[in-house]
Amino acid sequence: MPTTSLAPGAIVPDLRLPDHNGNARSLSDLVAGDPTVLQFYRGWWCPKEQTFFRRLIAFQDEVEVAYARIVSISVDPPEVAAAFRAGLGARWTFLCDPGREAQRALGLRETTDTLNDPYVPAVATLLPDRTVLRAYDGYWYWGRPTLEELRGDLREITRPIGPDWDAPTP
């Protein structure tokens, strides 16, 4: 990763940003003790993001029953994020950083795009305390996690925190 803020073992700061409806939210409240897929994306306009989102949309049908979270963050303002989210059919929270304060704090600006100043595409899988298990640099599309990699990460995070991971039996 181009930054240490998403290095494995780092704790992602408790970001406080508006969500896609303009409500003030904190990352800790959105994670709420569950394994989380934290996604930073360039913006609605990027074809690579649109394609990767379709992967996450397919994944949400599993996440919705598996006590895990997805949180997406971009520099898009709430009204743009809300429209993009609705168009995608996403049912998780999008955080909005149009002022780029969190982007600066995390060191996740994509420096090659001086027009949009977007987030560098990245995905991190988080433990319940927002510690990074693994991070994926999505600048090149093939650097992004497959669903099998995300499933493996969420299993790795969930197993030690689930006291009943081994099914109770007589």
């Binding site: 969500d19 409806n21 409500n23 939210r25 409240d29 959105l30 709420a32 003790g33 569950d34 949400q60 996440v63 919705e64 029953v65 598996a66 006590y67 895990a68 979270r69 997805i70 949180v71 809300a82 609705a86 059919g89 996403a90 049912r91 998780w92 929270t93 319940p128």
Partner: protein
């Protein structure tokens, strides 16, 4: 509120001993329709009371428009029924209400849903596709405004907890 859920009931008169209560009028006629009340305690306060996410109750809450969906008498649908699951997905997909909660009597059945809105003339209630919605004007002092569910989880965190309560007790 320290518990994850409260008891909620519609009553003819102002109930004694409720944690919070507000007068109710039928919308849009304004005809008096009794009281809605909440109790923050373990023991069921009266026979018709149902469990709801405790976060929806706020004694400082402003008047609100409420969509109350209750199954007809004798009809019991599992919480895990596909239609109830889909209604929860639609709640997550749509612009958020001020507050929403499933209504439960036990650990397995959907006994209704309550959706609280303000200022938008009444949002469409996805649970109204399951059973008829009764739209009520609820006075001040009962319902607050809750952060929208984070999504995409539609499961309950413990079967006694009405969705969208969103975490286990240790958190």
């Amino acid at each position: 509120m320290t518990s994850t859920w409260i008891w909620l009931a519609l009553t003819a008169d102002r109930p004694a001993g409720a944690t919070a209560a507000a007068p109710v009028r039928q919308a849009p006629t304004g005809e008096p329709a009794g009281w809605m009340a909440a109790w923050a305690r373990r023991r069921r306060p009266l026979a018709g009371a149902l469990r709801a996410d405790a976060r929806i109750v706020d004694r400082g809450g402003a008047p609100a428009l409420v969509s109350l969906v209750l199954p007809p008498a004798g009809v019991r649908v599992p919480v895990d029924d596909l239609a109830v699951q889909q209604a929860r997905r639609e709640v997550l997909a749509r612009p958020p209400a001020d507050a929403v909660s499933l209504l439960l009597r036990d650990a397995s059945h959907f006994e209704g849903a309550i959706t609280v809105v303000r200022g938008r003339g009444g949002a469409e209630d996805p649970f109204a596709r399951l059973f008829p919605s009764r739209v009520l004007e609820v006075g001040a002092g009962l319902f607050g405004r809750v952060a929208p569910p984070a999504g995409p989880v539609i499961e309950r965190y413990g079967s006694a907890n009405p969705w969208p309560w969103d975490r286990y007790p240790a958190v």
